[in-house]
Amino acid sequence: MRRKIAWLIMLVAFTLVVAACGDDDGGETTTTAESGGGETTTTAESGGGETTTTAAGGGETTTTAASSSGGEMLTDFGVDAENKVIKLGLLADLTGAFAPLVIDITDAQSVYWDNVNAEGGIDGWTVELVIEDTNYNVEQHIEKYEKIREEVVAIAQSTGSPTNVANLDAFKEDDMLFIPLSWYSGWGIPEFDGGLAFEQNTNYCIEAMNLMGFINENGGTSVALITFPGDYGQDAAAGVKLAADFYGINIAYDGEAVVIPGQDQTPVITEIVNSGADWVFATTNPSTFAEILGGAVQGGYAGMWTGSLPTYDFRLLDTPVAPILDQVFYQSAYQVTWGSDVPGMAPVEEAMKAAYPDRRPSDAFVIGWNESIAIHEALKVAIANGDLTRAGVAAAANSLTSVDFNGTSPAQSYAGTPNEYVQRLSAVYKPSLEAYTAAGGVEQTLSGENTTTGSILAKDFFMSEATEAFDYTSPCYEL
């Protein structure tokens, strides 16, 4: 009897909660329904002769509002012109396969915008992030996008390839600019992404061609290629093969798409050992890579190793393969690593230290920070144009000719044709167990001095001849 009442109370409480949520959302629904029916597009009467963009997509209403800086501001979704607030969405994998990496990236982005807002925002506009967890799960990605699509003006980070490909139609329908956290070579091709993917850095395919140039420079004549299946591994494999043709490097073992995470890697290891190649090119994840590396070296393989950026994580230096990595492995990089001595690192280090003194240093902080710089530049241009509609922000992003990252990453352009703007530079680093241990290794926190992830620069940002000769007009690997 008493238990029955307890259940009843819980049920009533539950209903009340649902009702409370319902009232809020119900109100929102009516507003959007009203504004959605009109399909009117108001253009701004701006003094400065700015270009006005018409909002694309059915049922969107573009409204104008006077901004305090004098001009009129065109807005549609995710911008509160009255209070000067811009909302950006984050579709981040905070609980799934890439959570450790993405949490660092997401936190760096939050810290970046907190700092920008504290210093007065962008021309008086403050930026708020709407963070959603996608669990690296396609249907959750789509559901979470649906949840925030009317609240945000652009997506400042969207984790994964299949997730973004699945949601591409929705992005296109909304003219929603998004930064893919995925370096697939299709994101630079407007025919594929509608010009909406605001890709950062180079891609797996070009990165692989650069690394092949590095191998060639170091006298490598044969390569054993081992990759994951899918956009990541096979995009890199395509780059390796293009460059192998270019340099006349022999592919002694073609293990494109043979590495499956979580499965027995013995056959792959045997093939590597038997191939007799000078170098191994790996495109996997860090844990699978460590397994293969350890196994092959134990099996008597004596060549050198390199691979795509996500193959390596500095946390591998906490594991038993650390001495091997220190000896035979070169890591690829799109940004400088944590602790590098470039002007752009000081603000990142300072801000992250202030926000999270107890966290470990991470190379991923720089990724998040630079993503924010890029979208910051796009927003600046959009505000100057007087057009903070989604289409306006996307157009602003695609008009950027040089986003400067102050040395943390080579400057990047988005204007013109893919051949003109695609980022062709990447760098090569060498993990150093000595440098890592000397700085305190796993015990390091951001509050310490001279923190490092143990990577020593081997070759600064460069473009190989194979990359230079590459005509970039379509994705290297078709999805």
């Binding site: 259940w7 909660v17 329904a33 905070l94 609980t95 799960n137 396609v138 559901e143 299949p162 490909v165």
Partner: protein, 423 residues
């Protein structure tokens, strides 16, 4: 026999789908609510018509079909199966090969929905029949392990059958929910594109405040799925009332006793596997079509466990339980999220709940609290909280309320039935 709801004068009336007036009225009300739900025309529940909620409701409807199937197998016939995700995948890939677009790397025949949707069910059912003999040999925990093996075999297959499933971690696109007579022909009705609802509904607009000329794709998908769920629920309910359903229940309660009574155990189990797999296959195909693109890793053990959770939380062996469980399990994460955000707002403000909320919510890195609204803590993030809650709920329901949500409903109903003389 007015006013005597439990007095039946014939077997037929006792077995009726809706034996009492109350049930008939409440079912009619439920149907009206379900129809009005996506049109934002309901008080209190109107928010569910918002497209951000409707996508979740739509997934719940898809899962409801799958849950009804597992309920027949596990709830009614008593065969614990962890292989539901595998049968869903079989259906989904049958659908995508028959209905999907062909590409450089994938097969696709672009056949219309009236072929691929039933075929998804039939092929899954055939695979179910193949698996059934093992169920005749083993039972209980051992059967659970056999079906668990299916999930892993499936995972390996989908990862390596690139022509069928698309690349690992990239997947492929599913055919859209639209009806056309043959491939290449213009779709007669599209359930996924924005536009008018259905041509035959245009002249009779019964709801003047609803613009049926401009329905969103989600709303149309909802109606399509709603009809599907009603049909499958009725089928399931009817099956349970037939000789087949009763033989399943007999096998569940004591298989040896059932055989002594003349129930053919092998036949019964095979039927249960086939029909349950048919449901799963259709659900898998619909899942792909509604989401649009799925990766081979979708069909993993976690998906199977989610269905088991739905059955346990909803209440095993009843259609109502399966439906309630699906709604609850699929909607819970979103509700928890909204609730935590609301609590966080309370903790920061000075509302009447601010004191209580402050205990649970950490608003700044130094603040004490169980949950935070940030990405990584302090404490749990909302998203981590959801995962924890999911596990806790399964445990709590198993211990406290084995009959599930349906059991709670029965208790509430009985309380009010006897009110004010309840004790």
């Amino acid at each position: 026999m007015r006013g005597r709801p439990n007095l039946y004068t014939s077997y037929r009336s006792e077995m009726a789908l809706l034996p009492t007036t109350t049930k008939r009225v409440s079912m009619a009300l439920l149907l009206i609510i379900a129809t009005l739900l996506p049109l934002s025309a309901l008080p209190l529940l109107g928010f569910l018509g918002d497209s951000s909620w409707l996508v979740i409701v739509n997934r719940a409807l898809v899962f409801a079909v799958g849950a009804l199937g597992l309920n027949l197998l596990t709830g009614v016939a008593g065969q614990v199966s962890l292989g539901h995700a595998f049968f869903m995948a079989v259906g989904a890939y049958t659908a995508v090969v028959l209905g999907g677009e062909p590409g450089n790397t994938v097969w696709g025949l672009e056949l219309p929905i009236w072929i691929w949707l039933p075929a998804a069910g039939v092929v899954a059912a055939l695979v179910g029949i193949l698996v059934a003999p093992t169920a005749v040999r083993v039972r209980g925990l051992y059967l659970a392990f056999v079906t668990l093996g299916l999930v892993f075999i499936g995972e390996h297959l989908w990862r390596n059958l690139g022509k069928v499933a698309g690349g690992p971690t990239t997947g492929r696109d599913w055919p859209a929910l639209e009806f056309s007579w043959w491939r290449g022909m213009e779709p007669v009705i599209s359930f996924s594109e924005d536009g008018p609802l259905w041509w035959f509904l245009r002249p009779v607009n019964l709801l003047p405040w609803v613009d049926i000329e401009e329905m969103s794709g989600e709303v149309k998908t909802y109606f399509f799925l709603l009809v599907g769920v009603i049909v499958f629920a009725l089928l399931a309910k009817n099956l349970m009332r037939t000789r087949v359903g009763r033989s399943w229940a007999a096998i569940r309660d004591r298989d040896i006793a059932a055989e002594v009574m003349g129930v053919n155990e092998a036949k019964g189990k095979t039927q249960a596997f086939a029909i349950s797999s048919f449901y799963a296959g259709v659900a898998g195909a619909l899942f792909g079509a509604v989401v649009g693109r799925l990766i081979p890793e979708t069909w993993n053990l976690l998906l199977s466990v989610e269905f088991i959770a739905i059955i346990l939380i909803g209440g095993a062996g009843t259609v109502t339980g399966a439906l309630l469980g699906t709604l609850f399990v699929v909607m819970l994460p979103r509700v928890v999220e909204e609730f935590t955000v609301w609590l966080a707002a309370q903790a920061e403000g000075d509302g009447i709940f601010s004191g209580v909320a402050d205990i649970f919510i950490a608003t700044s890195p130094d603040d004490f609290g169980l949950v935070s609204t940030g990405a990584a803590g302090p404490g749990l993030s909302i998203f981590q909280l959801n995962i924890v809650l999911f596990g806790v709920l399964i445990v709590v329901f198993l211990i406290v309320e084995p009959l599930g949500l349906y059991g709670i409903w029965i208790k509430i109903r009985n309380y009010w039935k006897g009110w004010p003389f309840t004790y």
